[in-house]
Symmetry: C2
Subunit: 97 residues, 2 copies
DNA sequence: AGAACATATAGACAAATGTCAATATATCTA
DNA sequence: TAGATATATTGACATTTGTCTATATGTTCT
């Protein structure tokens, strides 16, 4: 994982509200959650949610899937695993399990 | 790991220069690196390094050890492991190894 | 005690960032 | 085609944050 993506992910995870949104998407059991549903889980304006979702997509932490007027988001676990692996590598921390 | 510490760590890792400093401390083989040595590895003013070191200490990512006029820093791998474990728990990502 | 060195703090500043209201764009349905 | 709904974009604003210079505090050594 190159520096640019590494930093992008770190930044994406650093804002509490954005992390909440990410967590909502990551733990969703329905195979995709749309923007509107995300909005209902957090107390910020729709424009703000849209902005955070964009950041998460750009960090490749989530994947967007358009279906008509809706946009569904699914977690990209591979990116998280890569990020964690990169942290461990750069900091010479042993894997936790 | 409670919310407050979790966010503190995430923020601490999010700035590129601060991460560089953390990485320098984490990969140090000499059992402690002092502020002055950290300053030599990065291209910012001493005051800025001092500020970043403080943030790392407050996030409990590194531990400071005063010896006379010097201050030695060592990585706190436990915190990183806790942070990674917390990420995996909150995001329901399986351990990487 | 006084000079030299290591680190911390204060205060100022610019850039980045999270937020919102308003509006635009796109899609669906009656 | 019109109206309703879902999401994106624009532009503005306040806050946060990384950075610096200057200075303070604390330590060592002559």
């Amino acid at each position: 994982m190159d520096d640019k993506r590494f930093q992008k992910v770190a930044k994406a995870l650093a804002d509490p509200r954005r992390f909440d949104i990410f967590q909502t998407i990551a733990t969703d059991q329905a195979g995709g959650i749309c923007s509107g549903s995300v909005c209902e889980t957090v107390e910020v304006a729709q424009a703000t949610v849209s902005h955070h979702l964009k950041e998460l997509v750009e960090a490749d932490l989530v994947t967007a899937n358009c279906k008509g007027q809706f946009k569904y988001f699914t977690p990209n676990h591979a990116t998280m695993n890569e990020y964690i692996a990169e942290l461990q590598k750069r900091l010479q921390v042993k894997a936790t399990v």
